[in-house]
């Protein structure tokens, strides 16, 4: 199968001859959107991003148009974009409507909390950037990785019960129920969400944690820092009695890497599967 190589060569020639798509001025709203634009080789055309765009590191130097859910239209228009790529989270609605009326081309992306959404997101963004070939390559690779993950899951015994914990300010940490990106990645990696009684995120209660009896506690690097590190997290009264705490099993990953459902989703699921497979130390 030499087609990708031929494609790449053709593309290099096209680039060299200056026949590539015209340079855009892109404002990306949403960390996973920014990451995908970069993965498609168009990062140099970004002129602004939202505050959740933290990967790759070079985007942190770009002008920040605010938090993805509380954006303001004039700030975005002041960057003179020719293309606005908005994640499903981008808002408020009034700002999105104002941007639509401004005549700047805007592509709104579907919500992504499950594996199937990641290749779709890549293809949509690639189409908007007129980079269908690269999009196909990137999404195809992700499709293959996701398929091999699915094949793995089919032959392995059901994985450990994983409790995803999110720190928000003071007060008890929140845990992920069903229909969350956290549940999506846990399932993708072959584990089971320890919580099944509710949708979305809810404050953690000691009884619920004991009933859930997780074998592994999963969190984000950002939350772990906020909650005072792994020992402090496991010592919390809500968690101290769980099998995971007794075995000292906590895993943490970067939030966007773990929950973004973008180009690195299969990597994240593999990394999580590896941690789960290690079993009690």
């Amino acid at each position: 199968m030499r087609r990708p190589a031929v494609l790449a060569l053709a593309l290099l020639l096209a680039l060299a001859s200056g026949a590539a798509a015209a340079a855009e001025r892109i404002v990306a709203l949403g960390g996973v959107v920014t990451e995908t634009v970069h993965a498609l080789g168009r990062g140099a055309e970004l002129v602004g991003v939202d505050r959740t765009s933290l990967y790759p590191a070079e985007v942190q130097a770009l002008p920040k148009v605010g938090y993805v859910r509380t954006l303001a239209a004039e700030g975005i228009l002041s960057l003179r974009p020719t293309l606005i790529l908005a994640s499903a989270d981008a808002g408020p609605l009034s700002t999105i409507e104002q941007l639509e009326r401004s005549g700047v081309r805007m592509v709104r992306l579907p919500e992504a909390t499950e594996a199937a959404a990641a290749p779709r997101l890549i293809r949509t963004i690639a189409a908007a950037l007129d980079r269908k070939a690269e999009g196909e390559e990137l999404a195809g690779r992700l499709d293959r990785d996701l398929s091999s993950l699915a094949a793995e899951r089919a032959v392995r015994p059901p994985g450990p019960k994983v409790l995803f914990v999110l720190g928000i300010g003071s007060g008890p940490p929140m845990v992920a129920g069903s229909h969350t990106a956290a549940e999506g990645i846990i399932t993708l990696a072959g584990g089971r969400n320890a919580i099944s009684g509710f949708e979305g995120y809810k404050p953690l209660s000691p009884e619920a944690a004991l009933v859930a009896a997780p074998d592994l506690i999963l969190t984000t690097d950002q939350s772990l820092a906020q909650l005072g590190g792994a020992p402090a997290l496991l010592a919390r009264p809500e968690l101290a009695g769980t099998p995971a705490a007794r075995a000292g099993r906590v895993a943490s990953f970067d939030a966007l890497y773990l929950l973004g459902f973008g180009p690195r989703t299969a990597d994240a699921a593999l990394a999580l599967a590896k941690v789960m497979a290690e079993g009690p130390p």
């Binding site: 920040k64 509380t70 303001a72 004039e74 609605l93 104002q98 401004s102 005549g103 995120y201």
Partner: protein, 348 residues
Amino acid sequence: MVLMSHGCTRQRRRTAVLLLLAATTLAAAFASLLVGALPIAPAKVWSILADGAGDLAERTTILDLRLPRTLLGLLVGASLGVGGAALQGLFRNPLADPTLVGVSSGAALATVTAIVLGDVAVAALPALAPWIAGRWFIMLFAFGGAMAAALCVLGLGRGMATSMLLAGIGINALSMAVVGLLVFASNDRQLRDITFWTMGSIGGAGWPTIAAVAPVVLLALLLILPCARGLDALTLGEREAGHLGVPVQRLGLTVVAGVALAVGASVSVSGIIGFVGLVVPHLVRLCAGPDHRTVLAGSALLGAALMVAADCIARTIVAPAELPVGVVTAFIGTPVFLWLIRRKRSDA
């Protein structure tokens, strides 16, 4: 603001203060059209306003973003200013503000209900989704909540200032208890929407919003401004005002109904914006004395000017991002408020 000139009669001074405040408001409104994240030269702004010059981004910015939010800022600021002044007069309490009659917390309760239960309704009846996602859903809910709270206060207090004040406090406490319950039941996304609403913003204003809010605010001003004489008499006490022929109960009902309309409409579109209604009337009284004919009109003008100025700061200080305007008014209002308390103490 030094306006003392010897031999200046009180009447002339009042006129001078009102003229100066009107000029300030106009200046703030013009400044608001000229400043923002997108740099546009003043001359160009005029030509865009006059005959639609400029490219699409510039035209959108002036005609679709800055102009509506300036007008909404004027309406919301005037509502909060005059609302605070009227309630401070009615309750004869310098620390009264528009939140006291329960409209803000009633609006907050209805908004949080709409945000949290909107998703439930969409799940049950997907056909409702476009309407629930639209801006009118939250706004109508908020205004309905504000009116319901005001009717409770009017019904329980029957126009008597003290009873209405207590009823307002009760409604506030009850609303906030229910809000707490709904916040607990909300998911991550809903919680962030709620937080954004409670910090206030006038950035989402479009022309339909202005068209909906302006008539309500003008009606409220027509109700409140003629109450000036009655509020002056009320400073002597409710019974004395009654002896002077002031229909005290009707005055109370009119003032609270007017404030509820103005502040209810404002809160519905802008979310909760603090300190304007509390601080502005004090500043007007400092410059022009306690006469309600000046204090009511002056508070509407200064409230409008302060609101628009705060919004200018909110959308330029962290450009290309934007601060919630309620944060800016609180930053401006809190030091003034503390200084007023200190002044009061030294007067006592």
